[in-house]
Amino acid sequence: MSQSIYTQEKFSQIYDKYANMVYKICIMMLKDTTDAEDATQNVFVKFIKASREYQSESHLKASLIVIAQNECKNQLKHWWSSKRDSFEDIAEPSYNDNTPDSDVKNAINSLPDKYKIPVYLFYYEGYTTEEISKMLKINHSTIRSHLSEARKRLKKFLEEDNNG
């Protein structure tokens, strides 16, 4: 492999800063800690090997988000994942719990990925819908409708949870 522009020291800094973010995307999409760890590693390995200069820190961050999402989609499309899903569906996801905020957590877990990631990027990472649209290469209007639908679903889930 050709020498990456990211030396180990430089990479350490990037990893410290963005490992949590990448892992969060991966665990949300893959719903399994081992798979999420693998995917996170692959994302950073690809990032290092790509050895691309970014105009700014925000470009670098956005690129990691995109690579993470693609990596997870590829893993989900893999035949092993698709076969295994049928077994995992039986069990509750391992990260469902009864800790404080667990109702919110379970509500978010219940969202399909196409809603979950925009919710994360919008509410947690603070991206605008336009930025998310560019990053995920999804129409702006689609992102807005996804967020709107996600809010509706979260509300419904939490109401049902409280009533139940």
Binding site: M1, A19, Y23, E37, V45, K49, N70, D101, Y123, K137
Partner: protein, 321 residues
């Protein structure tokens, strides 16, 4: 549900310190630690045993020196197949293919049994049988010419590890690869399925695909096909596969093609394959039984522009309005 609750939930997804450290160590190992597979170690013993068997066959009188070349080939290939079979099914397919390619330098080409192939392949098989058979060289030369290459394993039945790169030669527009998510959609598919006249540029614009910067595939890849292949700027990243070889080694992905065949495969169609290290490579299907991996340290990656069925539907709706 307030913002703080939401933040708490997302914070809870963070990896533990131990997880983070473990991932960091693994990444460093994968990205900075060099790991190479010396194929000489695999191929030379195979070639040596095959050569010994061949010489023994002649020496013992089992095989006449003037026996038909085809029979001699059979003996060599049977020997190598037996050895390779111990490496595991898929691995042996790949390894054996590579060796077979080398062995054609000294042995005549075996006949392909076209009756055992799918229809589309039968034509190519017949064509291959009609091709002149190569002569010359020696086993010693083959051994000497053996080059260490990265291990590239082509795994059948993994429809998800490749994406078709549709080349629209009719309209002479640059082709683009769009990974399925969930469906593979190309400008051509779009045209055929919707019946709507649309250029490639219009399609990309509607799909939000940036084609302002189109990068041509490096020249050594272009030489492989008659059609030039283009990729969108955003699609080329992260791919770094090192292929050190004579530039002519072939990888047989025929079984993969058959296993995944939901459409016809055309000459000069390209696929993205993933090797055992997770690296992706573009391979071109040249209409026969081999697909050629691009050679010589081409360092590009394709992560893909993705479009969902919903997005396609949105595009269609927006066009009809």
């Amino acid at each position: 549900m307030d913002k703080q609750q939401l933040n708490n939930v997302f914070d809870a997804y963070n990896p533990t310190k131990e997880q983070k450290q473990k991932m960091f160590d693994n990444i460093k190992q994968k990205a900075y630690g060099k790991k190479t597979i010396d194929f000489k170690k695999i191929y030379i013993p195979m070639a040596t045993v095959a050569a010994a068997a061949f010489i023994f066959a002649i020496g013992s009188g089992v095989l006449d020196q003037n026996a038909p070349a085809q029979l001699q080939t059979q003996i060599v290939q049977n020997t190598t197949t037996d050895i390779a079979a111990t490496e595991g099914d898929e691995k042996s397919k790949t390894d054996n293919t590579a060796f077979e390619h080398s062995s054609t330098q000294v042995q005549s080409k075996p006949e392909l049994d076209v009756t055992q192939m799918p229809k589309a392949d039968q034509a190519a098989g017949s064509k291959a049988n009609d091709e002149p058979q190569s002569n010359g060289g020696s086993i010693q030369q083959v051994i000497e010419n053996a080059q260490p290459v990265e291990d590239i394993e082509v795994v059948p039945n993994q429809a998800t590890t490749y994406a078709a790169l549709n080349i629209n030669t009719a309209s002479q527009v640059p082709n683009s690869r769009m990974i399925d998510a969930p469906a593979q959609i190309s400008a051509q598919d779009f045209h055929e399925n919707s019946g709507y006249e649309i250029t490639y540029e219009e399609f990309c614009q509607k799909a939000g695909i940036d084609i302002t910067e189109i990068i041509t595939v490096p020249s050594d890849m272009q030489n492989i096909t008659q059609n030039q292949a283009y990729f969108n700027e955003g699609e080329i990243e992260n791919w770094n596969i090192t292929y050190i070889g004579d530039g002519a080694r072939s990888i047989n992905i025929n079984s993969s093609l058959d296993a995944n065949a939901s459409n016809s495969y055309f000459e000069n169609e390209a696929f993205v394959k993933t090797d055992i290290n997770g690296n992706e490579a573009v391979v071109f299907y040249d209409g026969s039984y081999t697909a050629y991996i691009n050679s010589e340290n081409v360092s590009y990656s394709i992560t893909g522009v993705e479009i969902t069925e919903q997005e396609l539907s949105d595009i269609l709706v927006s066009m009809i309005k």
